[in-house]
């Protein structure tokens, strides 16, 4: 290995890798965790992060009525891309709004994969709104639960009212190659607006 000193720390053996990230968003229970864990090279990790009380109030999952906690679990995994780059996949919590979390998660992201369950399309509205508004490249991916979709993709596009430029794909969160291809479509969106550094 190259033991060239790094800028920051003099005698470190090699530089720490360059981190890049893709955000995996969507409503509660759409398959974000499965998506991240099926392709991550490390076991899925979870950490607690802050969530606003507003978000706690609008959490309407039947399992946790009137949830009052102001922390939320953030799931993530990573993939070593090459000798220098490490790709992180951050699964955003299921709630519609969680204050600073969005900013923290999306700052510097290459793009986002918004996962939808075609039976509960409205759960992804918040994510779609956010990425459109912040001009972050994203792809909408319908998870084929039990191997099938409940609705045609054209109907999903109509219901979500996403622009024609936004790719809408279907994938299987349980299949690594399917997840890989979904992430690749996100990256092609990112690429379309990128430039070679001068």
């Amino acid at each position: 290995m190259d033991s060239k000193p790094s800028d920051e720390a003099g005698e470190l053996a090699g530089k720490p890798p360059l981190p890049v990230k893709i955000v995996v968003a969507g409503g509660f229970g759409v398959g974000k965790t499965t998506t991240v864990s099926v392709i991550s090279e490390i076991p899925l990790l979870t950490t607690e992060a802050a969530m606003t009380e507003v978000a706690a109030e609008i959490d309407r999952t039947g399992h946790v009525p009137q949830k009052t906690t102001t922390t939320v679990a953030l799931d993530f995994g990573c993939i070593t891309i090459d000798e220098e780059i490490k790709l992180y996949l951050f699964g955003t919590p299921g709630q519609d709004r969680f204050g600073f979390m969005w900013q923290d998660l999306t700052q510097g992201a290459l793009g986002a994969l918004v996962i939808v369950d075609t039976r509960r399309l409205e759960d992804c509205y918040a994510a779609v709104d956010y990425f459109e508004h912040h001009d972050i490249p994203f792809v909408v991916a319908a998870n084929r639960f039990h191997g099938k979709l409940e609705h045609h993709l054209e109907d999903v596009r109509w219901a979500l009212a996403v622009s024609e430029e936004t790719p809408l794909i279907s994938f299987d969160a349980r299949q690594r190659r399917s997840v890989r291809d979904a992430l690749l479509s996100v990256l092609h969106m990112s690429l379309a607006r990128a430039e070679y550094p001068r």
């Binding site: 981190p19 890049v20 990790l45 802050a50 507003v54 993939i79 204050g99 969005w102 900013q103």
Partner: protein, 150 residues
């Protein structure tokens, strides 16, 4: 895991009392973030951060890579609790999010502690370059790397 140097009690790993987490909110990107709550007692995460509610560098990304420097390794034994745990954990470069997850720390707390250690010269940091999301060269490399996954 080589975390035998971990600080004693286990209960600090529990998620903090919901009412006590606001001091760690980063207001910069927050919507409707209430003012920090400071009056409560027994706020361990708050104590861990020496009473500070935000890192020296609040913009430190959660995916930023940190790695223990030689100075960090040699002074590890003199560091206290979580600072020492982090220095031991980061022998290989990992992200701030991983530091939080592996030590059972709230993300905001991990960020403050990591910032301390960077400032003290015990950790080296590599942050994502500015303009990374628009860097065609980097994105192409990520695409190639993903394509290699079978």
């Amino acid at each position: 895991m080589a975390l035998s140097a971990m600080a004693g009690g286990e209960d600090w790993r529990q998620p903090p009392d919901p009412g006590l987490t606001r001091p760690y909110l980063d207001e910069a990107g927050g919507v409707d973030v209430p003012p920090p709550v400071r009056e409560a007692s027994g706020v361990r995460p708050y104590l861990l951060t020496g009473g500070r509610v935000r890192p020296a560098d609040a913009s430190l990304e959660i995916e930023a890579q940190v790695q223990t420097t030689p100075a960090g390794h040699s002074d590890a034994d003199r560091l206290m609790f979580e600072h020492r745990d982090i220095v031991v954990l980061c022998a290989q470069p990992i992200s701030i999010a991983e530091v939080a997850a592996r030590l059972g720390l709230h993300l905001g707390v991990a960020r403050v502690l990591v910032s301390d250690l960077i400032e003290a010269g015990y950790l080296a940091v590599r942050r994502p370059d500015v303009g990374l999301p628009q860097n065609k060269k980097i994105i192409e490399r990520v695409i190639r790397g993903l394509q290699a996954i079978r």
